[in-house]
Amino acid sequence: MSDQSHDGYLDMDLLRFTTAGSVDDGKSTLIGRLLYDSKNTFEDQMEAVERSSKQRGDEHVNLALLTDGLRAEREQGITIDVAYRYFATPKRKFIIADTPGHIQYTRNMVTGASTANLAIILVDARHGVIEQTCRHAFIADLLRIRHVVIAVNKMDLVEYSEEVFNKIVSHFQEFASRLDNIVDMTAIPISALNGDNVVEKSVNMPWYHGPDLLYHLENVYIGSDHNHVDARLPVQWVIRPHSDEHHDFRGYAGRVAGGVFKPGDEVVVQPSGFSSRIRSIESADGPLEEAYAPLSVALTLEDNIDIGRGDMIVKPNNMPNKGQEIEAMICWFSDRKTLQNRGRFHLRHTTNEVKAVVTEVRYKININTLHKIEDDLEFRLNDIGRISLRTSAPLMYDGYRRNRTTGSFILIDEQTNETVAAGMIL
């Protein structure tokens, strides 16, 4: 790693990915292997892992222990929550959302997937595509992850068989053909335990001509994952210095959710509908020539109009939808309460918060078969399905498929303040 600290290293890409697998698919081992083989682990960490492996009586150094953080997990040998891991190569910095795969943790998978560019779905080569594999693929698709890697693990236990691998891949493709947000699917045969095709090409599978996993992660093209078409700036905060030097300064601060803004552009503020032009795009480093997703900026406008948090600055020829009747897919997160027709919530969407009432529960989805469930319409923990909502004030939104930021929301329980659902607007 000695040549990485030059200036080029200050300018890397960032790839966020999620990993999903069933309990014994070797997911933690795979992440441990990625960290270890790409030289992103430290001596004191490895010493701690070696110590723990011995105490547990494991036969070899258990790389999975690199990622199992909390006491309860160490005791039970499972992962109970989304954990975030970091590593870097000279090309890219990686953020891993490590989510457990058992059925009761769908909500963690949804959470991890919501910010990911890519999903790694682990399949145990001995068991092939099982219900959980389909569930993971469905969630990746639902959350609009464009890039999916099918990592067929434990190839060492099926004698590195090409036939086994091909059968699993075609079985998976058959299922995935029903999912339409996934634009890029790559299958890689690996052994996380032995390191085959993780960071280096395996010598045990000469029949495989594709990339190893790390090479793929370093090179997959993610440049088009942001929306640079529909100009959207949800206003987060209004900067008013009240100083002599910046007496009349009003900066509308926010993180660009889509499109491109430039000084001179004509803009419209929603929901008021007032229009103006961008005077400048301000930053502590001086004015900027343009602003685009996902940059955090502050705009000043030519006209002094009333704008506050929750408003959205857009362009006149490209308006978001505006309305109080919302159709959405949701995933229900609460294990204490259920969602039913006429349920009331706080709804948070971009920087806006409104009240919402469920006007219709349309259906739930059996996420193993993708069949609709229409005879049981009560949402319990981890249920996914479609509902209709009416909000107390209009939302400015896009379909989730068009824009992940302006198309997503959460529901908050009015009594407990807990986040009880994630929603994707249709």
């Binding site: 200050l10 909390l70 601060a253 502590a284 996902p294 959460i410």
Partner: protein
């Protein structure tokens, strides 16, 4: 064709600024915890950018153990001037004097654990409803599961099994009376990202981070600096070495590393090739395998 590529440092910066603005918008009385270490310096730097040209809409809060490196305090005061920020100092000594905490006895005493009570008292006294902290998920395994908006009950405790899921860029800061939040804008940064950002932005850091000569001695695997607040035991040998600090905390538990890295570039080079985690120099984490998780449950940052 125009490229809208945003490199990793810009993405992390943009995310942190977003979190800082959300904190100002969602809470009545936030405060930014400032220790004088590099992470809190970077966080305060980002806060300056988030609200520029206005001043920070919240004060800096320093929980002072009284066991500081003098360089830290000197740097703190200069930096606060540069930010034009308000500074609130909560002294662990006051908590001891009031009988709120009992000072550890013996030569290995540390005030590190006592900070938690002083912090929780400062939060209650000033009615802070959100404290911005410079923690990073890559620092320690219990922090890998920390949320950006981390909910604390009215005892200031963290319950790892009952945290709110965080999706996309939507943060739920709703709370009941008496509860508060810890907000962690640098969650996704690594030690390397911090150093790269310091270089890219030209941020000044305390000179403790760069190699210098200092009297040190070895205790439980950490090189501690000789100072008024530690008692060197007869069997411990004091040596003058060329060292620097990778983290700066309480002087009684922050170890130095032997290092010739005197410039930012040399430090980045050293971090890139480091074989020990930065908290490897912190004796407070070595008390047990889950030391950090246990302290966090109690309300430690």
């Amino acid at each position: 064709m125009h490229s809208y590529r945003v490199n990793h440092l810009k993405q992390l910066e943009s995310e942190a600024i977003f979190i800082l603005r959300e904190t100002a918008a969602q809470f009545q009385r936030p405060a930014l915890l400032f220790s004088g270490g590099k992470d809190s310096i970077v966080m305060a730097w980002l806060a300056r950018k988030a609200f520029w040209p206005a001043r920070l809409p919240f004060p800096l809060l320093h929980v002072d153990t009284g066991h500081n490196f003098p360089e830290t305090i000197e740097f703190r005061d200069k930096f606060v001037d540069f930010l034009r920020a308000d500074l609130v100092v909560a002294h662990v000594q006051d908590s001891i004097d009031k009988g709120r905490v009992q000072e550890e006895k013996g030569p290995y005493a540390s005030r590190n654990a006592l900070q938690t009570v002083t912090l929780l008292d400062a939060i209650a006294d000033n009615q802070y409803d959100a404290c911005l902290g410079g923690g990073r998920r890559d620092e320690e395994k219990a922090r890998a599961k920390e949320r950006f908006f981390s909910h604390r009950d009215d005892f200031g405790q963290w319950d790892p099994k009952n945290q709110r899921p965080e999706l996309w860029n939507i943060f739920n800061g709703r709370k009941h009376h008496g509860e508060h939040f810890r907000v962690v804008p640098l969650s996704n940064w690594t030690e390397m990202d911090i150093w790269q950002y310091v270089k890219a932005e030209g941020i000044d850091l305390p000179n403790l981070y760069f190699s210098h000569e200092r009297d040190v001695f070895l205790r439980s695997g950490s090189l501690l600096a000789v100072s008024e607040c530690v008692t060197v035991q007869p069997h411990e040998i004091v040596e003058r070495k060329v060292v620097r600090f990778r983290t700066i905390g309480d002087a009684t538990c922050t170890g130095a590393v032997e290092s010739p890295a005197a410039t930012l570039d040399e430090v980045i080079q050293e971090v890139a090739t480091a074989r020990q985690t930065e908290r490897g120099t912190r004796s407070d984490d070595k008390r047990s395998e889950t030391a950090m998780e246990d302290r966090k449950r109690e309300g430690y940052f």
